[in-house]
């Protein structure tokens, strides 16, 4: 049994094109070691709340936020983010979001509506919007 599509491609002389196409993968990893099972990547939810923790860390940064739901109860929402390597290029610092900040987060949420999701962007109290990637780098992926 032998599977060697890559070697056949090289023989056909498409390696440079393949390399150029694949170079994009470096800046836009779309998969991770944390599975996105259950996440609806075709939609975003918008959630406003108060930051409990913002962790600037590898392999993922994350935001833990308190959100008051329609019933008036406080829920905890966690948002999984890319690592700082990517966030820095998108203009973030480790103090872009701080505990106590009032923010609005856009995220890919769960299909069943459970709290939490994959971070897409944040609107800070002063109106500043931060995403995970510099403009023109495509849709958000996952850094791990």
């Amino acid at each position: 049994m032998n599977w060697s599509i890559a070697r056949r491609s090289r023989a056909l002389g498409v390696a440079p094109l393949l390399a150029a196409a694949l170079a994009l993968v470096e800046v836009a990893p779309v998969d991770a070691h944390h599975s996105s099972a259950g996440i609806d990547r075709s939609k975003t939810v918008s959630v406003e709340g108060t930051v409990k923790t913002f962790r600037w860390a590898n392999p993922h940064s994350w935001i833990e936020m308190e959100v008051v739901n329609a019933a008036g109860e406080t829920e905890i929402w966690n948002f999984e983010m890319l690592p700082p390597t990517y966030l820095i290029r998108a203009g973030w610092t480790r103090s872009s979001v701080k505990a106590g900040d009032r923010i609005r987060v856009e995220a890919n949420g769960f299909v069943n509506g459970d709290p939490g999701g994959l971070f897409v962007s944040v609107t800070l109290a002063d109106g500043t919007v931060l995403t995970q990637r510099p403009p023109g780098r495509g849709r958000g992926g996952r850094g791990n």
Binding site: M1, W3, I5, A6, H34, A37, G38, H60, F79
Partner: protein, 266 residues
Amino acid sequence: MRTSRIGPLARAVLGLAAILLAAPAVPAQQLSALAPENLARPRPAPPFDLTGMWLHSGNERFDPPEGFVLTPEAQVHYDAAQRATAENKIYRNDIGLCWPAGMPIMMTRVWPVAMMQYPTAIYMISELMNSLRVVYLDGRTHTDPDIAVPSFNGESIGRWEGDSLVIDTRHFVDHHHWIHDRLGIPASDALRIVERIRMLEGGNRLEIEFTLIDPKVFEGEWVMTKFWNRVTDRDIAEVECLPELNEHMPTVHSEFQVRDLEEIQP
């Protein structure tokens, strides 16, 4: 009174004999790959030096060849993973739960790999959980299977062949270790991986042809070629998979996780 006199040479011979008789009968110890006397041994110059940061490009998965045949034991996990995927769930998700990716996955995930080449060994550190892999080049052979300690990255012995480095890796763990985690293709302790590495494009690109055999998991050989680009603007970072991390990863705690085979059996 006359005393016996032993000359210096005889004393030395007797002393050596005493040491040899007293020494336990253990095999000669393998010199560490970083022992100065091992590093200093004369060896032919290698055809290339892998020292640098490398980032895999392309499909990070070890997708199986068309028509591959799994063993019945492995098929159970594969089928479970397919059912989980069909239900928008993830089966096992061991890497997400901080188990090491292991070989072959550690080489191709989206994180870079730092490689440091010495005459006696190549040290590789994947930024994904800082997983360590050592490829010995000092002529040692694989450890006796009866005493080898299984690991996720295995025991790698390399040798130079023309313009290539050929690495033979064995002695893998047989639990929480996957050849393809998303497809549910496990790795067993019979997994053996042979890599043939070539350096291309003036040292800026690597080609590795992987040949996998694992008779406990699939029939025949599984061969595929992957590529890496040299990265010059990035250093290796500390990346730990910590309990605190997973407490705050919403996907890890969702109802879409399938931890056990029994949860997904038809």
